[in-house]
């Protein structure tokens, strides 16, 4: 998985924060439920792999009983929710560092959505959100959902309102 993630990252920024985040999750200090407001059965992120000033990467193992799965595949709505929750995990991580409560975010809009394929229900997906802009209380991100080999299942631009 690291081989997939690392080419996306700026090597200069990567080292210190990457290891800090890894340490936190490897030690089990944070659970994903501490970073996002969603709860089962709608949780669509397992863990954060990386987070820095502009980029957050999560992974998620799709289980066949996932509520967004149908006929053996994660549906489009699940891919979009996964991108949104990756953005939520990013916001949660940043707030956690500041010792603040997680907050609810809302998808304000989706642009340039492209779904290339649907992942199977036993797949592990790796999702990146890159912050392209922040305007007022809206964060604009570019999201991509890939498999371990780098194949892009879905991508879009998303506006996310944070209810602060």
């Amino acid at each position: 998985m690291l081989a997939l993630v690392i080419p996306c990252l700026n090597a200069g920024k990567r080292s210190e924060k990457f290891s800090n985040v890894l340490k936190l999750f490897m030690s089990g200090k944070f659970k994903i439920s501490e970073l996002i407001p969603q709860r089962d059965p709608i949780v669509m992120v397992d863990k954060i792999i990386h987070s820095d000033d502009n980029l957050t990467v999560t992974s998620f193992k799709i289980r066949e009983d996932n509520i967004f799965c149908s006929q053996g595949f994660l549906q489009e709505s699940g891919l979009i929710e996964n991108i949104a929750q990756t953005a939520a995990a990013r916001a949660g991580y940043i707030r956690k560092e500041k010792e603040l409560e997680t907050i609810v975010g809302y998808i304000g809009g989706i642009k340039n959505l492209r779904i290339n394929a649907l992942p199977e229900d036993d797949a592990e997906i790796v999702t990146t959100v890159k912050v392209t802009n922040t305007v007022f209380n809206v964060t604009i991100v570019k999201g991509e959902v890939r498999n371990k080999n780098g194949f892009v299942f879905a991508e879009c631009e998303m506006k996310i309102f944070l209810n602060q």
Binding site: G108, G109, N133, V135, F136, V138, I140, K159
Partner: protein
């Protein structure tokens, strides 16, 4: 920057991004009522202003912009400050 340049950039953006017709674009058009530009769309306008004209706007300033001409004038004043 001349006001004509600003008008051209903004009009092109509105037509392209919000699929407006050219005949809808006139300086007196109310952004919300005539052009159906909602609060979410203002985010896109703020982004294009930053990208094309090089400054960030804040929500309070945006609240005073009601017509297309208000928008042109606001950008013109900020750019030529």
């Amino acid at each position: 920057m001349k006001k004509e340049e600003i008008i051209t950039k903004i009009d092109d953006f509105l037509i392209d991004e919000f699929e407006l017709e050219e005949d809808q674009i006139n300086p007196d058009a109310l952004l919300k009522d005539d052009l159906d530009i909602g609060s979410l769309d203002f985010v896109d306008i703020a982004v294009i202003i930053e990208k094309e004209f090089g400054f960030k706007i804040n929500a309070e300033e945006m609240a005073n912009i009601r017509t297309l001409d208000d928008l042109y004038n606001y950008i013109f004043e900020r750019v030529n400050k």
